[in-house]
Symmetry: C2
Subunit: 331 residues, 2 copies
């Protein structure tokens, strides 16, 4: 295992210290927790937006903390859900009196622990609502999910729900728009190489030198098939067509697109992929309203990519366009 | 070679199409060239800022095009200098009548070709000035340089010279501040894994499973030594101390820091590194005015990092703080 780490058991602790050191004016760590929050959180009378999950998906989720996106991110151990206690701390950090909204990727552990934390917070008098993101069209169920997994489409939920809250939306209004996003966002990924959880020391799966895996999850969970590496154009077609088939798109629809890197993919390759994805969408008569290309939801040093499409309406477009100070949402 | 590409001979062409497709409102490609420019370039009466070099270092340099940074980037083939003709097209694209300033990384090919393009532009009546960035303290000369190599410190030159031009600085004023930056910026890098130029198909060097290379360049050029992989803390100490020793820092000096990923390094590891770099700088009595952590100047899918320090004065601080719309300068 080749990594720039100290003790593999303490990578999350070390990372959080390094993160706060890099953003001392905008971020804070809640003492004795793995919760990162806006330095000025909680914001009075604004719905607090909280996400999180296992670490190893950086910049998700702490990189999306900022005005117009998240108020707090709860960071679990690598690829491991944060405990309900930690999530509760995140909720408290984000609670400015107008309620707290949880954005949860659909993994059994995350859903259970965020739900439990929501109950604990409600018991303390904090209104909590949530959305579960399940944008990955690759598999219906998996070892760690009932139903589809939540992957890079989560970033659009962060952005749009966050903008709604920043614009003064109520907890119910934030929930409504977040559900509209999850209902209209779909993704699919692939990998060329595996990744290694630092504390495990060995890759969690393997791929031959000429092999890729289509439909893989962001923890290296099995996808649809392993097969010979094809061209960027064929990868773009397979991912994009699977996404397009899963939801009804009409000629002239506005869409937002993420061509996401899994961690070790050169930006050059993501742009090469984007060329073809763009061509496919234009051929289908879709209007690409916004494109994000880069590392938005990663799996440590996995090499690979995912394609995310969000079907937009006027409200989503306007919220997507709103300013955000979150450093990882760089568009 | 596992890559998301089509024909390895056309990766730059494909990348540029995908890049323009992602940023249709802000970027344009100059027809029949590998020059990417601001869509609204040239800006009347503003000094045009042009950089470039071999591709494979994304987001450098096209990701730094935007208000307050570059007007155009000239993209060579992978790890290959763009030709003088191409650089001339970049200069013309950026020329708004107030002259054009070239930011060149110190590689023999780049320096020669940008110089030749500058002469050609001068012959056409465009005032051109330049700076050569040579921030890498690892080696004094190399196979592809006379003197030190230019690496991630170039980003600070883009930012500060770009802000000076955006603020209405003259060509001479832009040159003066750019020279002040290059005089005060130092970097050093390391790698855990090699990278493969697509058209070559094989890695340009190799490292054993337990080995890293200290002082490596952004094309995999030899550094100071190959040795057993150490901890993040030891890597941080070796890189940071070498940088600190090369320039006089005084107690209380303001510095700007880049903890840069080489392409395949998880953000988690960069933050772990930043924790220790931060501690070292604080111990030395330096005031960390700004920190950038992420992939700013890469080497395809090389795994590794570099540390850059810029000693600041009031003018540099103010220009560093100025707004920029460049998508890759996300702070």
């Amino acid at each position: 295992m080749k990594k720039i780490v100290n003790d593999p058991e303490y990578v999350v602790r070390d990372m959080l210290e390094g993160l706060i050191a890099a953003h001392p004016d905008t971020l804070k760590q809640i003492p004795e927790t793995t919760v990162v929050a806006r330095k000025d959180a909680p914001i009075d009378n604004k719905v607090g937006i909280v996400s999180g999950g296992g670490s190893g998906h950086e910049p998700a989720h702490a990189g999306y903390i900022g005005d117009g996106m998240l108020d707090a991110a709860v960071c679990g151990e690598v690829f491991t859900s944060p405990t309900p206690d930690q999530v509760l701390e995140g909720i408290k950090a984000a609670d400015g009196g107008a309620g707290v909204f949880l954005i949860i990727k659909n993994y059994t552990g995350d859903v259970m622990n965020f739900d439990m934390a929501a109950e604990m917070a409600e018991a303390e008098g904090i209104d909590v609502e949530k959305v579960v993101v399940n944008d990955d069209v690759a598999v219906e169920d998996s070892a760690s999910t009932t139903g589809r997994r939540g992957i890079a489409g989560t970033i659009f939920v962060h952005k749009i729900a966050g903008a709604k809250a920043a614009a003064g939306g109520s907890l119910q209004e934030v929930k409504d728009i977040a559900e509209k996003v999850t209902g209209n966002v779909r993704s699919m990924g692939m990998a060329l190489t595996p990744c290694t959880v630092p504390a495990a020391g060995e890759p969690s799966f393997s791929l031959n030198e000429d092999e890729m895996e289509i439909g893989i999850g962001i923890h290296g969970e099995s996808g649809i098939e392993k097969k010979e590496v094809t061209s960027a154009n064929e990868i773009a077609e397979e991912l994009t067509n699977n996404v397009l088939e899963d939801i009804e798109f009409n000629h002239g629809d506005d869409v937002a697109l993420i061509v996401n890197g899994m961690g070790a993919t050169p930006e050059m390759e993501l742009y090469i992929l984007n060329k073809k994805v763009n061509e496919i969408l234009v051929e289908r008569g879709l209007n690409i309203y916004k494109t994000l290309v880069g590392n938005y939801m990663t799996a440590l040093e996995m090499s690979g990519c995912s394609v995310t499409l969000l079907k937009l309406d006027e409200e989503m477009k306007s919220l997507l366009d709103a300013e955000s100070s979150a450093p990882a949402y760089n568009i």
